[in-house]
């Protein structure tokens, strides 16, 4: 049984279907990517899965349960957590306070040890822990957005364009951590416009174009698909 099952998901803006009835599934422990051009509907799909777009047409099942009618905060409490495009950190709160917000719904006694674990993953955050997050660099904000999500102890992490706008050396660090998170048992659904990067770290992939999924399969196979190579990988074999 898949951890996440999406069937016939639609996202509409006004009368227009930006996401046109997509099907996808993510099994427990997998790192799956959803790639496509700007405006293909990737972020809209993630927002719908995380509960940020009302009750969209289609069926969403997570850990065997129907998600219809559940709100975003309830999904977070059940371990389905989004790291939004553009980071979405609370700019006037410190790093420590942002991390505390990630653990807002928790009542267990391991929050402090989890925070230390985040500082182990991202040493820069420890150095900046009392700094307001709006003053952090883009890369540091991305680290904080991921760490904040991890503070809620997700089972399924939805990552929306984590490499967006970051310098190559920071991208490397972020993706090393994404791999590490997945190796530690967290299932990951990664949305990326940077197809080469996403296909390198994912086990399976979906390709999205104009609101529809046009291709899916093993990431290694997708990376050699002639249409993908031409459209997203610069015409060279990956």
């Amino acid at each position: 049984m898949s951890l996440l099952e999406v069937k016939g998901l639609e996202v509409r803006y006004g009368g227009i279907r930006a996401v046109k009835g997509i099907d996808l599934a993510v099994d427990e422990g997998e790192l799956v990517c959803l790639i496509g051009a700007n405006g293909a509907g990737k972020s809209s799909s993630l927002r719908a899965i995380s509960g940020l777009i009302g009750t969209p047409p289609g069926a969403l099942r997570y850990a065997g349960r129907d998600l219809s009618g559940t709100r975003a905060f309830q999904r977070v409490r059940n371990g389905l957590v989004l790291v939004p495009e553009g980071r979405g950190v609370f700019p006037q709160l410190t790093v420590d306070e942002n991390l505390a917000m990630g653990a807002y719904a928790r009542t267990d006694g391991e929050i402090e040890s989890d925070r230390e674990r985040m500082f182990g993953l991202f040493a820069r955050l420890k150095e900046r822990r009392r700094q307001t997050s709006g003053t952090l660099s883009g890369g540091e904000q991305q680290m904080l957005a991921i760490a904040r999500a991890l503070m809620s102890r997700p089972k399924l992490l939805l990552l929306d364009e984590p490499s967006m706008g970051l310098a190559p050396i920071v991208v490397q660090k972020i993706f090393d951590v994404v791999r590490e998170i997945n190796a530690g048992g967290v299932t990951v659904l990664l949305v990326e416009q940077n197809a080469r990067l996403a296909l390198e770290i994912a086990s399976r992939a979906y390709v999205m174009e104009s609101g529809a999924i046009t291709l899916s399969g093993r990431a290694a196979d997708i990376a050699h698909d002639p249409k993908v190579v031409e459209a997203y990988l610069g015409g060279e074999a990956a």
Binding site: Y13, G14, I16, A18, A37, N38, G39, E85, G86, G138, E161, S163, M164, G165, L166, A167, P168, I169, V171, Q172, F175, Q193, N194, A195, R196, L197, E200, I201, E230, A231, Y232, L233, G234, G235, E236, A238
Partner: protein, 158 residues
């Protein structure tokens, strides 16, 4: 691991002689290393933000895919010459070119920072574009190697 693969194309080249003046589409443009585009307001110090000079305003780019999605999903028409960006591209993941060099025809650009939308454009056009352009507002670049560019020129990573 962090290489970005793509092969895109330059669709439009636009300049404005001064801040808030209409942008004009050009059949070709001369990009001057370290300065900007010949005749553009940020090369001559007449731009809306020229009082806060930054090298990363030498050239600005935006994806045609963004404009198509805004038209399709939000019913807001926006033409390349209305975006206030200089170059419109197809097939180029601009959000992933910060810190990278890439070639536009014979010119080499360096991605400096993501552009962010501003209410100035909304006021100028009378359309609410701030939200739809968030995280898709394009890329600000410096010119590493100057030269002449034309619509149709290939865009490739270096």
């Amino acid at each position: 691991m962090t290489e970005t693969g793509f092969r895109g194309v330059l669709l439009h080249v636009c300049i404005a002689v001064a801040g808030s003046q209409p942008m004009q589409e050009l059949p070709e443009a001369h990009l001057v290393e370290g300065a900007g585009i010949d005749g553009d307001r940020y090369a001559t110090g007449k731009g809306h933000y020229s009082k806060l000079p930054r090298a990363d305003r030498q050239v600005t780019l935006i994806e045609i895919e963004t404009l198509e999605a805004i038209r399709r999903d939000h019913h807001i028409p926006i033409e390349p010459q209305e975006t206030r960006r200089n170059l419109t591209t197809r097939g180029v993941p601009l959000n992933h070119l910060v810190g990278r060099r890439f070639r536009v025809g014979e010119v080499v650009l360096h991605g400096e920072r993501l552009n962010v939308p501003c209410k100035y454009l909304d006021g100028l056009l009378g359309r609410e574009l701030f939200g739809p352009l968030t995280n898709r507002s394009g890329l600000n670049c410096t010119i590493v190697t100057g030269g002449v560019i034309r619509p149709g020129d290939p865009i490739e990573p270096l």
